[in-house]
């Protein structure tokens, strides 16, 4: 699986749309970003979101500020969805955290309480581990040899069942309940295989469904455990119904529906056609599923409407919007959706799926002069952050989705760089703002010019409306909040070392910084503890733990052979 990709069976990482009413916001005419040509960055096979020398930048030629589009102008570029490498990650079960270590060809099992580490052999080049609900078990896709391993752990031992899938699938999705796993090829980005070669010769238009229940019994042959089925051209998403009995494989122009317990009766999976050319440009669309897995929602930069696919009744529904949405997001409870209408400088908020039968329930909130193409939903309230990363714009807005109130921040509030991505802290009181930067080279003649052309992030206190900018020499690769949102750890690699910075979200201060030599692989937070872990690419296995509060660092090297705590 492309390590930059979010697994849709987990949670919606890429945040998009916010809908907000313009009450007290700055007045002014609506603006649209000028057209640009750069494509959004995709994660490379090594799992990095970007290399230092090709970090994503918002279309730097434009400079800050936006201008209204001219007639006949090329359509605006898509917003960039920046997904931290941490989502590549660790599977968290009841008692353990599992992290794939591609270098070792193993999965590392971490005990969060004791920070003990065990190294579990699996197949070649394991990708990300996925937890199985309700038990200490995880599945991992081994891209090196095209197999899947199921790990079942107990305090005494780890039992591993591995089965060949026949192809080097890239992504893995687990059904709710953990009974089935679907291995597939993600073709949502430009077609490349895991090793960077053209993937056209690889069997991309198929999936492998693994019966994990049967696999764990042991002794089964491959045919008893694995079913291979053809799906549509360019699969982009896999969703499940909430019972975990059906899988929906979304491809360029159709959705294949797999009855997971009855695949034998489906040699060819039934399809629901999208039947809309405007939604076939996979790099310009987005697909979400509601929590129940009944409705799939599609938006496209090329269409001023939304499509809902009712996967129970096999129906396609449409909602007309004032303009093409540049982002779509669902509220945490799934009852509401927000669509950012970048071209109209507004946001639409509406109940789902109700709006498809009652279009009058849609609410349009004007943004005035604020530019927005992307939204990030608050995890705790009906609020969103709005910004655009399709152009260099030093601006961020918050919108109260209930009241429709918009507050816009810019350099007058200490926001002195454009926004690339944003994420709320878990408690919703603060946020991390990842900044974009312009493609300008030294020598610089002023502080502002240098600031605009170098990486950085800001810590943002929403209530006080205060930003604290931390300037960097290289891009942030990954980050993770402490569970209470009070602390933030950021992973910042450079040429020959990497740094972990700890920030306090209450005071908006960087409180410590540690440098390491080994290449980092994954970073995450150990559940139920105040520790961050960072796995390294190391021949003997290396993992570093860092305490959120004290900054204390402990490194274990050679856990593959024996544990040597540093």
């Amino acid at each position: 699986m492309d390590e930059g990709r979010l697994i849709q069976t987990c949670y919606a990482v890429a945040i998009l749309l916010g809908v907000f009413a313009c009450a007290g916001c700055t007045s002014g005419s609506s603006v649209s970003p000028a057209g640009v040509t750069n494509k959004p960055k995709s994660a490379n096979a090594a799992g990095n979101i970007f290399d230092n020398d090709e970090a994503p930048r918002p279309r730097g030629d434009q400079g800050s500020g936006a201008s209204p589009p001219d007639a006949g102008q090329a359509p605006p570029p898509p917003e960039q969805e920046i997904i931290p490498i941490r989502y590549q990650r660790p599977a968290t079960t009841r008692n353990y955290v599992y992290v794939a270590n591609e270098t070792l060809g193993k999965v590392i099992r971490i005990d969060p309480e004791t920070r003990q580490v065990a190294s579990i052999p699996v197949g070649g080049k394991p990708g990300e581990a996925v937890a199985i609900e309700g038990e200490d078990a995880a599945a991992v896709l081994n891209r090196g040899d095209g197999s899947l391993s199921l790990i079942i752990s107990s305090p005494e031992t780890d039992v591993v069942h591995t089965v060949s899938l026949g192809e080097p699938y890239e992504n893995l999705a687990l059904s709710p309940g953990g009974q089935y796993a679907v291995a597939w090829f993600d073709r949502s980005k430009p077609e490349k295989s895991a090793d960077g070669q053209s993937a056209s010769s690889i069997a991309a238009n198929q999936i492998a469904v693994v019966n994990l229940s049967r696999l764990r019994q042991g002794g089964a042959n491959r045919k008893e455990v694995v079913e291979t089925r053809t799906v549509g051209f360019r699969a982009t998403n896999v969703f499940f119904n909430k019972e975990g009995t059906r899988a929906f494989v979304v491809a360029k122009s159709e959705v294949s529906v797999a009855d997971l317990g009855n695949l034998a009766a489906q040699p060819l999976l039934p399809r629901l056609r999208i039947n809309d050319k405007s939604f076939e440009e996979v790099e310009r669309r987005e697909v979400l599923a509601d929590a129940g897995g009944r409705y799939l929602y599609l938006r496209s930069l090329d269409a001023d409407r939304l499509i809902a696919l009712d996967m129970v009744n096999n129906q396609k529904l449409e909602l007309k919007l004032p303009s093409a949405p540049s982002d779509l997001d669902l509220s945490p409870n799934g009852a509401m959706a927000v669509a950012v209408l970048r071209g109209d400088s507004s946001v639409a908020v509406f109940p789902v799926p109700g709006v498809f039968t009652d279009p009058s329930s849609i609410r349009i909130i004007k943004l005035g002069s604020a530019a927005a193409g992307s939204a990030v939903m608050s995890p705790v309230r009906n609020e969103a952050l709005l910004f655009t990363n399709a152009e260099y714009r030093e601006q961020l807005s918050t919108v109260n989705l209930d009241k429709g109130e918009v507050v816009t921040f810019d350099s007058r509030h200490g926001l002195d760089k454009a926004v690339l991505a944003a994420e709320y802290a878990p408690d919703g009181s603060s946020a991390l703002i990842l900044h974009a930067y312009l493609a300008a080279s030294p020598p610089f003649t002023s502080v502002e010019e240098q600031v605009d052309a170098t990486p950085g992030y800001s810590l943002f206190n929403l209530q006080a409306g205060v930003f604290a900018l931390e300037r960097l020499t290289s891009d942030v690769k990954s980050w993770v909040f402490s569970p209470d949102g009070a602390r933030l750890a950021l992973l910042i690699p450079s040429k020959d070392a990497f740094e972990v910075q700890l920030a306090d979200m209450r005071s908006l201060l960087k409180v410590s910084s540690v440098r390491f030599q080994s290449n980092p692989e994954f970073m995450g937070a150990l559940p139920g503890s105040r520790w961050v872990y960072i796995t390294h690419k190391h021949p003997a296995g290396r993992i570093t733990f860092m305490h959120f509060d004290t900054g204390e660092v402990r490194t274990i090297t050679g856990f593959d052979l024996n544990s040597n705590a540093d």
Binding site: S411, R412, H413, G414, D416, P442, P443, F444, T445, S446, V447, Q450, V451, L459, N461, A464, G465, V466, F467, A468, L469, E470, R471, D504, R506, S507, L508, L509, K510, V511
Partner: protein, 565 residues
């Protein structure tokens, strides 16, 4: 001039800086009589006359402009800090940064004994605590803040680590706190390699003095806005205002640990976000902060008591802002309209009719310097080549012009009052090609030369001294009878390196003393008998120049042992 309260620091920038003895303070007192030798010259645009007290004359020469933004902001005046000095004298000693050695030199003015103190790697800023023999030192090599406590027997150094290599240091008026910060304000040349962060570290000096060196107990860090430019204090030092590009963070010093995030006040005015073209001042009680910008025809004010803000419309952008020491009057120089504005604080801030505008006639003034001892301001410009200095009586509004008729024969780079306010030192600037208005070759050469002038204010006499290189640091002795000026420059084989000793009563150069090494700091020892010149030397070198005549005494190698030369 910048109206920043708190102790101003002597910063090791590698350039010459000036240390004025502790007695040099800028004050305003009652006006003196106008000199009989001063002539008022009518200008082609009209006579220079005092404006009637209490009234404003908006139709004065230069006219008025609509409030708002000037079509093009005028070029900023150049503020040269020749005469801005950091008091580095304590009760009994003078402390000097030695950047060559990375140490602090402690000088006993009575005996001229020099002791070298190591206070950390790469000391970059130095302050003293008034009334104590204690110096505060900021180091960058291993980021730390050190307290040097001196007595005749020994110097005790206590230091505490800082998280960042801060490069500026300010001590609160109450001397209880030192604030380490990154100064990104006006006048600092852009350095692409410079590392900064929007945060400050506040060090509790009382705790440090008592022996506590645990950073978690002694140091509190707080986030501030992007590009911090000023620290302003209220009079008793209980509250600090940390001014950044777009906001002001308010710090209540004894409640720091209760406020993880400092409250902010937005400046909320784009024209005032250009840090290179703005200036802030604070009233002594901290109730009002005023700001001017080259980009805006208004004076911005913030009233912390009522938590309100507003702006006063001006006829043109203010190119300089000064506050009287009692904070009751603000002076704004309105260069483009040839005016000076006097604003009563606070009443005049909210009532434009109370703005008192004084015409400078045809004279071009962009900067003001306040007389420390009289109610007077010296006005001049550095933007165009003008051989004139205006002396404004702040009470009567009378303006006296000094120009070539008075012996002022070169344009001005900087002006400094001697402590008693009776004399001035003017640092001149050399005319660039084509700038000199002189007709004769002699005068043109004079215009193109470097130099300085001494001015006896009461007599209105100006004495010009041409110099082979641009004058550097200047220091006054506490009695204001003497001044020293450093001259350093020129090509390697024709290097000029000397200190002129100037008699301010007779306006003569008493002596010209060659210095053995490149001067770093110049100051006057308390007691009124000596000037000192700290120089760059691997072993440490300081020269002492006797006021009133005599040869300098140089001490070399005080780092190892003292050798008087």
């Amino acid at each position: 001039m910048r109206g920043q309260s708190g102790q101003v620091l002597l910063v090791a920038t590698g350039a010459l800086a000036i240390a004025i003895s502790a007695g040099a303070a800028l004050l305003i007192s009652s006006c003196g009589d106008s000199a009989s030798d001063i002539t008022l010259f009518p200008d082609s645009a009209g006579e220079i006359v005092p404006n009637s007290a209490g009234g404003s004359d908006r139709s004065a020469t230069g006219g008025s402009r609509d409030a708002g933004t000037p079509a093009e902001p005028p070029p900023p005046e150049t503020e040269n800090n020749y005469l801005l000095a950091a008091p580095v004298s304590s009760r009994n000693y003078v402390y000097v940064l030695n950047t060559s050695l990375g140490t602090i030199a402690r000088i006993d003015p009575k005996t001229r004994e020099v002791r070298s103190i190591r206070a950390g790697r790469q000391p970059i800023a130095l302050a003293t605590l008034e009334g104590q023999d204690t110096a505060v030192v900021l180091t960058q090599g291993d980021p730390a803040l050190a307290l040097v406590m001196s007595n005749p027997e020994a110097d005790t150094v206590r230091s505490v680590r800082l998280a960042e290599p801060y490069d500026s240091l300010t001590v609160s008026p109450g001397r209880q706190y030192a604030i380490a910060w990154f100064n990104e304000g006006r006048g600092r040349p852009f350095d692409a390699n410079r590392r900064t962060a929007p945060k400050v570290a506040i060090v509790d000096l009382t705790l440090l003095q008592a022996g506590e060196t645990d950073a978690s107990k002694v140091v509190v860090e707080r986030s501030v806005g992007f590009r911090m430019t000023d620290i302003l204090f209220d009079q008793n030092g209980s509250r600090a205002y940390l001014v950044s590009k777009a906001e002001i963070a308010v710090m209540t010093l004894d409640k720091l640990r209760d406020e993880p995030l400092l409250p902010r006040r937005r400046i909320d005015d784009v024209e005032f976000e250009d840090v290179e073209r703005r200036e802030f001042a604070i009233t002594p009680d901290g109730s009002f902060i005023l700001a001017r910008s080259d980009n805006a025809n208004r004076l911005l004010w913030v009233d912390w008591t009522s938590a309100t803000r507003g702006s006063l419309t001006l006829p043109s952008a203010a190119t300089d802002l000064d506050l009287s020491p009692d904070g009751r009057r603000a002076l704004v120089v309105l260069r483009e309209t040839n005016q000076v504005g006097l604003v009563d604080v606070p009443a005049g801030l909210r009532d434009e009719s109370k703005l008192r505008l004084l015409s400078t006639g045809g004279s071009f003034a962009g900067q003001a310097v306040l007389n420390p001892a009289r109610n007077q301001a010296a006005l001049y410009t550095t933007v165009v080549y003008r051989e004139e200095l205006l002396l404004l009586d702040l009470d009567t509004a009378a303006i006296v012009k000094l120009d070539s008729s008075s012996g002022l024969d070169k344009a001005i780079a900087s002006v400094g009052y001697a402590p008693g306010g009776e004399s001035l030192v003017i640092i001149h600037r050399a005319a660039k090609p084509g700038e000199s208005p002189a007709v004769s070759d002699l005068e043109r050469r004079t215009d193109q030369a470097q130099g300085y002038s001494l001015v006896a204010l009461d007599e209105g006499v100006v004495r010009l001294f041409e110099t082979p290189v641009a004058p550097g640091a200047i220091a006054f002795d506490p009695s204001a009878s003497w001044a020293g000026v450093v001259l350093y420059g020129g090509q390697q084989d024709q290097r000029i390196n000397e200190v002129h000793l100037l008699d301010l009563r007779r306006l003569i150069k008493e002596a010209s003393h060659p210095m053995p090494s490149q001067p770093e700091y110049l100051g006057a020892l308390p007691g009124g008998e000596w000037l000192y010149v700290a120089q760059k030397h691997p072993l440490g070198r300081i020269s002492f120049i006797p006021l009133g005549g005599g040869q300098p005494v140089t001490i070399t190698g005080y780092e190892i042992n003292a050798e008087a030369e």
